[in-house]
């Protein structure tokens, strides 16, 4: 895309509130590549956070990014979502990210907000908004494209899906950690995008809600959406992900279905701790057990 058309697109987005909202996104047919990253390298302060990472994620897929602390999972998600990139100072990046077959940098924020939602790792809110108001914020990109009833219905559906309708009137600061995490997930679901990027959505949750969150993510993928999720819990990744990518020291050490990738030798190597991998007696899904 030339600089001229990029400038024109930016100008159009600038006056968008005055003229007309961005176009409704076209649906992505199952199997098409939604995210295509090639040769991503990110260096910060002399450290290489990502080193030549390639990743393609297709519509209808739930892909889990796993790996030890500092392996670059969140950095990779940050690059894919546009948070980490040449915009940052001191960036020495190379590689490219395409979302929906268009370079990431060519999308304007309003266009992108209709197509992909991001759940960040930490959730804090500056003012005591109510839960209903926070979830409704997910509908903000659709202002002018949707009527109020659709917005309200989508907001309510997202709250029902994450099990928080009873919290609707509560103020965010009065919620527990697990409730906050689910409210933020509901906001991301309410955005109704084809692509979802979730950074450790289960970190603050108990078992029941971990299962709830990942089964919601899996359902979305089965419906044809695209979900990229950073996970620490290998058991969850094995049970819910269609494919996993194991990151280690900024590189992708292995990728494929959990059954193919989660082997004792690979995981012991990547995590630098001996683990055993056993098939679940009932489902056959791989169970990862650290040797103690």
């Amino acid at each position: 895309m030339s600089a001229w058309s990029r400038l024109r697109r930016r100008t159009a987005a600038t006056v968008a509130p005055l003229s007309r909202p961005p176009q409704h996104p076209a649906p992505a047919p199952p199997g098409t590549a939604v995210v295509r990253a090639e040769g991503l390298t990110v260096r910060r302060g002399g450290r290489t956070l990502l080193d030549g990472v390639d990743l393609t994620v297709r519509a209808g897929e739930l892909v889990a990014l796993v790996g030890p602390n500092g392996a670059g999972k969140s950095t990779l998600l940050g690059v894919l979502s546009g948070d980490v990139g040449p915009r940052d100072t001191g960036a020495a990046d190379s590689g490219s990210v395409h979302l929906f077959d268009r370079p990431l940098a060519d999308w304007t924020p309003p266009e992108l907000a209709l197509r992909r939602a991001v759940l960040p790792q930490d959730s804090s809110v500056s003012f005591p908004f109510s839960v209903a108001e926070l979830v409704a914020m997910g509908r903000a990109p659709w202002a002018g494209l949707c009527d109020a009833d659709t917005d309200a219905a989508q907001t309510f559906a997202a709250m029902a899906r994450t099990g928080i309708p009873h919290l609707a009137e509560r103020r965010f600061p009065s919620l527990s950690g697990g409730e906050r995490a689910r409210v933020m997930l509901a906001r991301v679901l309410a955005q109704g995008t084809q692509l979802l990027m979730l950074d450790e959505p289960t970190a603050a949750l108990d078992i029941r809600h971990q299962e709830l969150v990942l089964s919601v993510a899996r359902e979305l993928a089965e419906d044809g959406r695209t979900v990229i999720v950073v996970l620490h819990d290998l058991g969850l990744a094995a049970a819910y992900a269609h494919r996993v990518a194991v990151l280690s020291a900024g590189r992708i050490a292995a990728r494929g279905t959990p059954a193919d990738v989660f082997t004792a030798s690979l995981l012991s190597d990547v995590y630098q701790h001996q683990v055993d991998v056993l098939p679940h007696p009932r489902t056959g899904a791989p169970l990862v057990v650290p040797r103690r």
């Binding site: 500056s126 202002a143 009873h166 709830l212 089965e222």
Partner: protein, 369 residues
């Protein structure tokens, strides 16, 4: 490999499961009540305030005079002296007070939104003092490059520079920590105080009087010319509300999430900071340093209708006008015929309110950190 697909529809729909529509309606009713209540109170206090003073004019005559001015012959307007007092002294003062209060109220609410910090306020973080340095510099040097607008221009430049400085200095990861922000304010206020003190020290007596006026805050020298000069600044600042109110809500989630929801954060930052610097410096140029309006009003509004900026910003404008006009009424009638400086009255109201906020926050969440 199969994943367990549990039905995830309902998390036990509870008894008082409010239809989303009903909640919206209730919220809207509350907001409408607040806005109409504030407008009504503003008009009522304005009528009373315009009538009170050394030459009292009954409220019905004030109303009649105003209606007469727009071509409606209803009721009996006051006599000629009353008419002169009303139109040459009281009404410009009341109008200027409302304009300054509205500017400070909105500026405070915007600043809290853009800083992501409920304690940001032009006076507290030093933007008012910065703008005052600009204004006093003009008085001190006798500069008149842009005529009457020189003071506004100078205080705008200084106010904007101070805002940007505090914004850049106190922010990290899209938010400002309360302690850092307040300490930055302490430092900025100290530097501005030093500059003002230096200029006061080397000033003539006549200049010192004007400078003191700026430091204590007052709308007693109001004229229609000043009202005419502040109005475009106020309107320009208020024009930001419909464009950015919803995006300021999204900014409460943090910069990254706001961007992911389609907000061009950099542009919003520039526009809103320019608007709030314009509002603050216009208020400072015409009324001096009047502290705490931008802190007290948005907090009270948030307690009533919650933090949504679409209601918060217009309500803060109305509430700021109402509060400043009432404070000015108090300032000129409490010790009549003497006048208490306006800044003294608002500080006497705002200081205890600050204590109250501190106490409430400590009781609730163990303080700010």
């Amino acid at each position: 490999m199969t994943a367990p697909t549990t039905p995830t529809g309902a998390g036990e729909p509870t008894a008082s499961d409010p239809a989303p529509g009903g909640r919206r309606v209730r919220h809207r009713v509350r907001a409408t009540l607040l806005l109409t209540g504030l407008t009504a109170a503003l008009v009522a206090v304005a009528l009373v305030s315009a009538g009170l003073g050394a030459y009292p004019v009954p409220v019905d005559q004030v109303a009649a005079s105003l209606l007469h001015a727009i071509g409606l012959d209803l009721g009996t307007p006051p006599d000629r002296i009353g008419q002169t007092v009303l139109w040459d002294v009281r009404l410009p003062r009341v109008t200027l007070a409302v304009a300054v209060g509205a500017a400070l109220g909105v500026a405070g609410a915007m600043m809290q939104g853009i800083f992501g910090n409920p304690l940001a306020e032009p006076g507290v973080i030093g933007v008012s003092s910065g703008a005052a340095v600009g204004a006093i510099l003009v008085i001190f040097s006798g500069l008149t490059v842009f005529g009457h607008w020189t003071i506004i221009a100078s205080s705008f430049v200084f106010g904007l520079a101070t805002t940007l400085f505090v914004y850049v200095f106190a922010r990290s990861h899209g938010r400002t920590e309360v302690v850092t922000l307040l300490l930055t304010g302490v430092a900025v206020n100290a530097v501005a105080g030093a500059a003002i003190g230096l200029m006061t020290n080397f000033s003539q007596d006549a200049q010192i009087q004007t400078i003191t006026f700026w430091q204590l805050g007052s709308v007693s020298t109001a004229t229609w010319a000043k009202v005419a000069a502040i109005t475009p600044c106020l309107l320009l600042g208020l024009a930001v509300i419909p464009l950015y109110a919803r995006r300021l809500d999204l900014l409460a989630l943090g910069e990254g999430p706001a961007r992911h929801l389609g907000v061009d954060v950099e542009r919003m930052r520039l526009v809103v900071i320019a608007a709030l610097a314009l509002l603050t410096s216009a208020a400072v140029a015409f009324a001096g340093i009047v502290a705490f309006i931008g802190l007290v009003v948005p907090h009270i509004v948030r307690m009533v209708t919650g933090p949504g900026h679409r209601i918060l910003l217009p309500s803060s404008a109305l509430g700021g006008g109402l509060l400043l006009m009432s404070a000015d009424l108090l300032a000129r009638t409490a010790a009549a015929p003497a006048e208490i400086p306006l800044g003294v009255v608002t500080a006497a109201l705002g200081g205890p309110f600050f204590f109250f906020l501190l106490h409430r926050t400590r009781a609730k969440q163990g303080g700010w950190s």
